[in-house]
């Protein structure tokens, strides 16, 4: 009699196999077909998949929150190590910046005074201060497909589709999908990101287009535009999705194309600040699903809609 040992089981007859070890099964083939079907649906951007994704985000967000507990010390160590290596360079840069800022400080004060006088004279409408909410990054996307991060605030905290997200460096993206307790922020480097910007002191207008590379490219720049390497790129506010004047990055030239080197380190996002920037054009980008899902609850919880009727309250509310 042939005695075969497979794993911890003793197989006493020829042809006997351990349970679950019957090679490639029919189920495997079925799952491959299912994967391919899902890929096709993803390619077609089926709405059912988007809804399912949102539900899964909400379901898994507590798990991801928990997973961040051991992650924090790892990130801290990695941050310390990288800081140690870049500290000398940073110190030199800071000394130079400090010198330059001191030189221009008196000039800024003078301009501020003049601006305040002129504003008072011409009765300029002041920009409303934006409400903000700081959220932690729970997960980030990988691969060449999408550049986005998932944050731990959603409709319950008043975070809705279209709101811009920034960090200490500047603009990082905008909320494109908000669940009850989590939301997805599409980064400025994503293929689908389009942001109207102004460049440099000459205020040249352009469109910053993400292409899944580290630096978004600039499109629709006037032929006679006078630009310099290192010019500051800020949001222009055109279209209303982003407030005017938010820092994004600096102008660089790479492979013959004008690109923006973002100030924010998009690979190491830990916390982001969501700006509750309401504008009429935002309503056009929303499908009405997000606010309808929670309705007045978002307002009750102290979101930007607190104290006023919800934007989508109406007959269609269930």
């Amino acid at each position: 009699m042939t005695i075969l040992k497979e794993d911890t089981l003793i197989l006493t007859r020829r042809g006997m196999r351990a349970p679950g070890s019957q090679g490639i099964r029919i189920l495997w083939i079925g799952l491959v077909f299912l994967s391919l079907a899902l890929l096709v649906l993803s390619r077609l951007d089926h709405s059912a998949l988007r809804t399912a994704r949102g539900e899964v985000f909400d379901f898994l967000s507590p798990v991801l929150e928990l997973a961040h507990v051991p992650l924090a010390p790892v990130r801290w160590v990695s941050h310390q190590v990288s800081e140690y290596f870049t500290l000398t360079d940073e110190l030199d840069q800071l000394r130079r910046d400090n010198q330059r800022l001191r030189e221009s400080e008196w000039r800024v004060k003078e301009l501020e005074r003049k601006l305040s006088d002129l504003s008072a004279l011409s009765r300029v409408v002041q920009d409303r201060p934006e409400k903000t909410l700081t959220s932690r990054v729970l997960a980030n996307s990988t691969g060449v497909f999408v550049r986005s991060v998932m944050i731990n605030s959603g409709l319950q905290q008043g975070v809705d589709n279209g709101y811009p997200a920034v960090n200490s460096g500047g603009v990082i993206g905008r909320v494109v999908d908000s669940g009850a307790a989590a939301a997805r922020v599409l980064l400025i480097t994503d293929y689908n990101s389009r942001i109207p910007v102004r460049i440099g002191q000459s205020q040249v207008r352009a469109l910053m287009v993400g292409d899944n590379s580290d630096m978004p490219r600039l499109a629709y720049i006037a032929n006679d535009a006078r630009l310099n390497k290192g010019d500051e790129v800020v949001t222009s506010g055109v279209g209303g999705l982003f407030p005017r004047g938010l820092r994004i990055g600096t102008l660089v030239q790479k492979d013959g194309q004008l690109r923006v080197a973002p100030h924010a380190n998009l690979d190491r996002l830990e916390y982001v600040r969501v700006l509750f920037h309401e504008s009429p054009s935002l309503e056009l980008t929303r499908d009405g699903k997000s606010k309808r899902r929670l309705g007045p609850q978002a307002a009750v919880n102290g979101g930007p809609g607190a104290g006023r009727p919800p934007a989508y309250a109406g007959p269609e509310l269930r």
């Binding site: 005695i3 040992k5 497979e6 794993d7 911890t8 003793i10 351990a18 349970p19 679950g20 070890s21 090679g23 490639i24 099964r25 189920l27 495997w28 799952l31 491959v32 299912l34 994967s35 391919l36 079907a37 899902l38 890929l39 649906l41 993803s42 390619r43 399912a52 994704r53 899964v56 985000f57 898994l60 798990v63 991801l64 997973a67 961040h68 992650l71 790892v74 990130r75 990695s78 941050h79 990054v137 729970l138 997960a139 980030n140 996307s141 990988t142 691969g143 060449v144 497909f145 999408v146 986005s148 991060v149 998932m150 997805r184 580290d214 998009l266 690979d267 190491r268 996002l269 830990e270």
Partner: protein
């Protein structure tokens, strides 16, 4: 009891690694493929060493979770992990070739999976994306496999049980 624990460990390990790869570790942009390839090492190790400890549906579920949490196209990593599972099943005859042999088997399996992933990516995007990031990830995961396998070996309770089993003639 040990049998139940030995059945749970691979599943738990796969779940933990799957969640871990979606967390923001702050890797540079050109290293984005490394993390999603780590569950392949778990799938390969357990499928090769203990057939049946990780089922095909577990590989699929793991891949689908990565797809969902990373906002990638649904089905991409699910398909890649299923391919990783299949290569491990095919490589079973070489499971007893020693540590070095298993490393070579892993490297070979992963390069097949990497090329297949690149092909799927090309069909999905209808273009020829740069294969270099995927090859870098393959290099990193292959080089790190001995360490990874070492950790899994420590957690491999069924291996310890197997070592204690004494087979005698007529038993």
């Amino acid at each position: 009891m040990l049998r139940i624990v030995s059945m749970i460990v691979p599943l738990l390990l796969l779940a933990v690694v799957t969640i871990a790869v979606t967390l923001p570790w702050g890797l540079p942009d050109n290293a984005r493929y490394i993390l999603p390839m780590l569950p392949l090492a778990v799938i390969h190790y357990w499928t090769l060493r203990h057939p049946g400890s990780i089922a095909d549906w577990m590989a699929f579920a793991s891949g689908l979770t990565v797809d969902l949490l990373t906002n990638g196209p649904l089905g991409f990593w699910a398909l890649v992990y299923l391919l990783g599972f299949a290569t491990a099943v095919v490589a079973r005859p070489w499971a007893d070739t020693g540590a070095l042999g298993r490393w070579v088997v892993f490297a070979f399996s992963m390069i097949v999976v990497t090329i297949a992933a690149w092909f799927v990516l090309s069909v999905y995007t209808l273009s020829w994306p740069n294969i270099l990031p995927l090859l870098k990830a393959w290099c990193a995961v292959t080089l790190g496999y001995p360490v990874f396998a070492g950790v899994m070996r420590v957690l491999d309770i069924s291996r310890a049980v197997g070592q204690n089993t004494r087979l005698e003639r007529g038993a």
